[in-house]
């Protein structure tokens, strides 16, 4: 019973991390640097949709407890995150002639700028989408699972977006070019692919997904200027665990990291979950160590599989 509930919250949390980690991995594979501004790109998406939702309102109708206006706002958040990322890429990253470490440090600076702008605009206090908060879904309660329709919406939307990306990567011309470029940029260029344009699309898709992740993070929790940055370390853990540069690895890594993070409370109540041990048995590890445990598991996996779950052999 307890286990099911924790798995459910793990799935919800993972969905948000998946949306964040795909973009990070995509940008790494094509632009070739670790973008520390990615978390704050999520924040930008979340706050944009906050403003957009305030402007368009509910628009009547509702899907999974979410008014239709929220989906319009979601779209606005995705577009804004993509636009901000592309503009940053054009103005800053593209013109920089430094190695990947220089780019990484630059992106940390960009992250501060995004966050500062958000905070100047909205203040440091948390805000919340003006959406009726929901109680848990009744018919799931007997199974000990306490999730709301909003949580279901987060998981379903993430699944739709991820499937869409999969179709795009595998079956579209753009996807083939993106994969070609991730594999070998030089070869892609000489074989006639316009790598600049592909790079641009990569930023659009990566940042757009991050924006959607930010919107759902805001729905899951509250909106604060630090929301994306606070999640970024876990997203990095997911991407590295999955094999950096691999989109499918990032998904797997995100699922694993999110699950571990949310299953940590079980450690102190193992007796309730495991058979053949006393009810009161538990490891003295509180849930505040969730992030630490996620990182320990990341390190352990990397010790045995340095390229990550889905990464190519080094």
């Amino acid at each position: 019973m307890v286990l099911l509930d924790h798995i459910a919250s793990g799935l919800i949390f993972s969905s948000i991390i998946v949306l964040g980690s795909i973009g990070l991995s995509l940008v790494y594979s094509i632009a070739d640097f670790a973008n520390f501004a990615h978390g704050d790109t999520m924040t930008v998406g979340a706050y944009t949709s906050f403003v957009a939702f305030g402007a368009v309102g509910g628009l009547g109708g509702a899907v999974l407890g979410l008014p239709l206006g929220f989906f319009v706002a979601l779209l606005a958040g995705i577009v804004a995150a993509a636009v901000v990322a592309v503009v940053t890429e054009r103005i800053v990253y593209d013109g920089l002639d430094v190695d990947s470490i220089g780019m990484l440090i630059t992106s940390i600076g960009i992250a501060f700028v995004y966050r500062a702008v958000v905070q100047m605009w909205f203040g440091a206090d948390p805000v919340r989408y003006d959406i009726q908060a929901l109680r848990p879904i009744e018919w799931l309660l007997p199974y000990g699972v306490r999730v709301t329709e909003h949580d279901v919406a987060i998981v379903v939307s993430a699944a739709v977006l991820v499937t869409g990306l999969h179709v795009l990567l595998q079956y579209s011309d753009l996807g083939r070019k993106m994969r070609a470029m991730a594999d070998n940029p030089e070869l892609a260029r000489v074989s006639g692919i316009r790598t600049d344009r592909i790079k641009l699309w990569t930023w659009v898709i990566g940042a757009g997904l991050a924006g959607s992740g930010g919107v759902f993070l805001g729905l899951f929790n509250l909106l604060t200027p630090r929301m994306g940055f606070d999640l970024l370390l876990l997203i990095f853990a997911a991407v590295i665990l999955g094999g950096i540069g691999s989109v499918y690895g990032a998904m797997a890594g995100a699922l694993l990291i999110g699950m571990i993070h949310e299953l940590t409370p079980l450690l102190s109540q193992l007796g309730r979950v495991l058979p053949f041990v006393p009810e009161s048995f538990g490891l003295p590890i509180g849930n505040q160590y969730g992030a630490a445990i996620a990182f320990v598991i990341m390190v352990v996996v990397l010790l045995f599989r340095p390229q990550g779950i889905a990464g190519e052999a080094v």
Binding site: A34, N221, L222, L231, Q288
Partner: protein, 446 residues
């Protein structure tokens, strides 16, 4: 090339992770120092500071210390410093503080301090110890302020005291820290009463409500741990759950579900507004039913605005309160409402009184140095002397040649009256959430 990048990236990311972990470790150490008695042993050298406190009370003997060239011969404003939480998780407090400070400066500069103005240099602590210490270093070492108001978070105030102020003559007066550990540092003054009064009051209230089992969670820092420890000490019943949670997490569902598994019906929270708002949302969306209790830091408009209507009804909170029936508080409240279109909280009143106390101690001191202010800062608010409830009246007594023992300033936040540990006398109000609003339902004195 690609391989090198990947490896370097792993190293860097690992480094960031380590830095995060290191942060956790140092926070825990600090908690121990402040919260447990064990910390006192290592702080034995502070006995000297206790002596300084004694000197403060002897200030009435009036042995003038004539240090030539005090550097205050000019006619420009007296400059003091303030470290405040302008950003970070305590920024709501910071904003209220700044409003109190603004009003206080207006009050002081209407009358003047020895014919000069008072000026406050405000630096941001980012609500973190590190930010607070560098802000204080800038104020004390670069600006050379002899009087430092700071800070909000107890861990931050203590870090500032231990790494910047302790070895100097600078007066540090915390505006909002309620952590219990600060009592062990007599040299560190504060305007808000110690949290121990809150813990004791909460244990009495919960017991009076008929609960014998309680689940407690607290924010993983000095403030949270010391209040939770004091609560457990005061509580006679069972504690079914007692765990910390970290700040700024994106999910607290683990904490909430563990509290539910503990099967206690009374849940006590010692945390901050942003964290508590998240927790309340998770309690609501998980459909848990429990009687909620909280320390003062979990109440505020951030929580009300960001939680569903009715999700906290019946919750009880104890809040250090200003003496709201007194005239001077009501005048302060009226001015505050005129200026900012909302009622003041006691946090603004504490910051207000910090500034007034600073101004009075400067007026009463022989010269504008830390050593001289140490002699006066405690006594201008203590009994013996005429009770006055405005800066103007207190200023008049001092300007007419009165000494520190001739004036007993009664603040808008309470009588102040610093004790030998640098703690003020305090009032607490019990607030109950009714129809998603905080309603005062009684007072407790300490």
């Amino acid at each position: 090339m690609d391989d090198i990048d990947r490896r370097t990236l792993l190293k860097l990311t690992g480094g960031v992770g380590l830095a995060g972990l290191a942060g956790c470790v140092s926070t825990t150490d600090e908690d121990d120092g402040g919260g447990n008695d064990g910390g006192d042993g290592t702080d034995g050298s502070d006995g000297g500071d206790g002596g300084d406190g004694g000197d403060g009370t002897d200030g009435g003997d009036d042995t003038p210390t004539e240090t030539p060239g005090g550097g205050d011969g000019g006619s420009g404003p007296y400059e003091i410093g303030m470290v405040d939480s302008l950003t970070g998780s305590l920024s709501a407090f910071g904003e209220r503080n700044q409003r109190g400070v603004e009003l206080a400066l207006e009050t002081v500069n209407d009358v003047g301090v020895e014919g000069r103005d008072l000026d406050i240099v405000v630096e941001d602590s980012e609500s973190e110890s590190q930010g607070g210490v560098s802000a204080a270093q800038k104020l004390v070492n670069q600006d050379g302020v002899p009087f430092l108001i700071g800070s909000v978070g107890s861990g931050v105030s203590l870090a500032i005291y231990e790494s910047v102020v302790q070895e100097t003559d600078v007066v540090q007066l915390s505006q909002n820290s309620t952590g219990l550990g600060l009592t062990d540092f007599p040299g560190l003054l504060r305007m808000s009463p110690t949290g121990r009064t809150q813990s004791v009051a909460l244990s009495n209230i919960i017991a009076d409500d008929g609960y014998d089992t309680v689940a407690v969670t607290y924010v993983n820092n000095n403030y949270g741990q010391s209040l939770a420890d004091a609560f457990v000490e005061a509580w006679d019943g069972d504690v079914a759950y007692n765990q910390p949670h970290d700040q700024d997490q994106q999910s607290y569902s683990g904490v909430v579900s563990e509290m539910n598994s503990s099967e206690a019906d009374a849940w006590l929270f010692v945390t901050y507004q942003a964290e508590f708002a998240t927790i309340v949302n998770e309690i609501f969306s998980s459909g848990y039913e429990a009687q909620l209790y909280g320390a003062d830091s979990v109440s505020g408009s951030d929580v009300l605005e960001n939680t569903p209507e009715g999700s906290m009804d019946g919750m009880k909170i104890v809040v250090p309160s200003a003496p709201v029936e007194e005239d001077n508080y009501q005048q302060f409240a009226t001015r505050f409402e005129d200026a900012f279109d909302e009622s003041p909280t006691s946090w603004s009143a504490y910051a207000y009184d910090c500034v007034i106390t600073a101004a009075l101690s400067i007026q009463a001191a022989e010269e504008f140095t830390g050593a001289a202010l140490q002699e006066t800062v405690r006594d201008v608010t203590r009994p013996e002397g005429e009770q006055v409830d405005s800066y103007e009246a207190a200023h008049e007594i001092l300007a007419d040649g009165g000494g520190v023992d001739d004036v007993d300033y009664q603040g808008v936040s309470g009588p102040i009256d610093f004790d030998e540990n640098g703690d003020p006398v305090g009032f607490l109000q019990i607030q109950t959430v009714e129809d998603h609003e905080y309603v005062g339902t009684g007072f407790i004195e300490s």
